[in-house]
């Protein structure tokens, strides 16, 4: 069962297969019919969970709180109700102190149909993540769904304690279509899937250290990767941010002239950067580790 693809699964399937068997209990489930008033006002389809499933369970017997966005409903985008469920889960984490709060992100960011309310909802998620981290809660972002992790959710992911991704995962601030619409196809061809992947895909993010754990795209890969990330808690301190700031400043110096993922990988010492997309995850991770050590 656990070899099912994370990419193709629904939010509920992901939760059931990543947590310990039969451990999940949903909070404010679909029977409560918490639908979006803004989608209703526009006479658009609604979902009884507003596109996000939240609840509690265990992972390797440790208590966790978990939220999973449903990429199949408005691209997993965040509206008022959807955001409030995630914020509530993170507030609960501040009180319950689980081993971790897990965010299975599959989202284009702000739900444009809710415009201002969606923007504020994403802001409240970011603030709730940071407040929970300040209280010592470990928060893991897992990214590997068809809607990726874009817009304000990209900022939210970078505010978490750790990011777990599969190769197919995409993590960015602006989506390819948004960049293409603003500056044309010469700036970014959103239909060039290989280019999109080289710019924001899992392997590239891992090599730049924007992803902490890169996993195979099956459920067992994510389950193991999330468990590994929970073992290495990162605290939000001035010293940690000063180190991150120095790392990001170095990145700008080293890669200032890079225009493509391949340029970045070559600079990092990959002798044949064009092969990076082709190698299996385990081989890739071994090579990346060897290059980091060198």
């Amino acid at each position: 069962m656990r070899h099912r693809s994370f990419y193709e699964a629904t939010a509920r399937q992901r939760i059931v297969e990543i947590l310990d068997a039969h451990s999940f209990a949903e909070l404010v489930g679909p029977e409560q019919r918490t639908v979006s008033p803004h989608m209703q006002a526009l006479q658009l389809p609604v979902a009884f969970d507003d596109g996000v499933v939240v609840g509690r369970g265990t992972l390797h017997t440790k208590p966790v709180l978990i939220a999973a966005q449903e990429g199949g409903f408005v691209g997993g985008a965040v509206g008022e109700v959807h955001g409030a469920k995630i914020v509530g889960l993170l507030e609960r984490a501040r009180r319950e102190r689980p081993a971790a709060a897990l965010l299975l992100i599959d989202s284009g960011g702000v739900r444009l149909h809710e415009a201002n309310a969606g923007l504020i909802a994403v802001s409240e998620i970011i603030r709730a993540i940071l407040a929970a981290r300040s209280d010592g809660v470990t928060i893991i972002a897992a990214i590997g769904g068809a809607s990726g992790c874009f817009g304000g959710m990209g900022i939210a992911a970078a505010c978490c304690s750790a990011v777990v991704m599969s190769e197919e995962g995409r993590l960015a601030l602006s989506g390819p279509e948004v960049i293409e619409t603003a500056h044309g196809v010469e700036e970014f061809d959103s239909r060039d899937r290989a280019l999109v992947w080289r710019t924001m895909g899992g392997k590239h993010r891992y090599l730049l250290e924007d992803c902490d754990v890169l996993v195979d795209g099956d459920m067992e890969g994510f389950r193991a990767g999330i468990a590994a990330a929970m073992e290495a808690p990162q605290s939000l301190t001035l010293e940690a941010l000063e180190r991150e700031q120095a790392m990001l400043a170095r990145r700008l110096q080293i890669f200032s002239s890079s225009r493509d993922g391949r340029d970045v990988w070559r600079t990092l010492g990959w002798p044949n950067p064009e092969t990076v997309p082709l190698v299996p995850t385990d081989v890739f991770l071994a090579q990346a580790a060897a290059l980091r050590a060198a």
Binding site: E80, G108, A115, A158, L238, Q245
Partner: protein, 246 residues
């Protein structure tokens, strides 16, 4: 479903110098470097650190890093000094190079720096004095303890034509909605009603700043304000239900 398409601007940019002189009649040493403002100002007998953006700045990797760097420097060198974020931004820079370099990390570092400042006892005030858009406002003024806005400010996730294109809702319908519904129009008064903007700053800006400093609190209370003001009725209630249900 993402971020901002807004690059055009409506009308002339607000002159940051006049805003700053109204905020700090007791004096300031704020300097401009490109689209970045940094420095300090005196208000109510107190010294504030100021970091800001001008000319509807597009927040790319460099300016985002510089903003975070300045906040971290203040936290390191001036423990407890209140921070003012003076924001005029068209949102994150929409370029392939920024995404290649991981711009989400750079923008998030501003939010995280603000959180660490807050944790260490700094009050953090945001003021949207012109434009506040998408990732640019999420990471800055919306990460502050208290966010104010000037009456002519515009806050939005995307302009209406772009929103119509992506949501496939006719622009005329969105325009009609934005007349009736605070959810769609960029008018900062709508954001007051929805709790994300504490108040509109008018008249004596130095007094507004002092009032904001007095109201600053570490916990995010925007959903509560929204319920009190009738702008977002579900956010706080549903969050509470998820947080407290047995």
């Amino acid at each position: 479903m993402t971020a901002s398409l807004v690059t055009s601007t409506q009308g002339d940019a607000v002159d940051w110098r006049s805003v700053v002189s109204r905020l700090f009649p007791e004096g300031h040493d704020i300097v401009q470097d490109g689209d970045l403002l940094t420095g300090s100002g005196r208000c109510g007998g107190e010294t504030l650190a100021v970091v800001g953006t001008i000319h509807h700045a597009a927040l790319g990797v460099e300016i985002s890093l510089a903003m975070a760097q300045y906040i971290l420097k203040i936290v390191r060198e001036y423990p407890g000094r209140p921070l003012l974020l003076l924001i005029d931004t068209q949102g994150q820079r929409l370029r392939q190079r920024d995404e290649l370099l991981g711009i989400h990390r750079y923008v998030a570092l501003i939010s995280k720096a603000i959180q660490v400042a807050r944790d260490r006892g700094h009050r953090v005030i945001g003021l949207v004095y012109d434009q506040g858009v998408s990732g640019g406002i999420l990471a800055s003024a919306f990460s502050a303890d208290v966010c104010g806005a000037l009456p002519g400010a515009e806050i939005r996730v995307m302009n209406l034509p772009a929103m119509a294109r992506i949501t496939r809702i006719p622009e005329e319908q969105l325009r009609e909605l934005s007349r009736k519904s605070p959810v769609f129009a960029p008018d900062p008064h709508n954001y007051v009603q929805m709790g994300a903007v504490d108040s509109i700053w008018e008249g004596d800006l130095a007094q507004c700043l002092q009032d904001a400093l007095n109201r600053a609190q570490a916990n995010d209370h925007r959903a509560r304000l929204a319920l009190e003001r009738g702008g977002r009725l579900l956010a706080g209630r549903i969050a509470r239900r998820v947080a407290d249900d047995a």
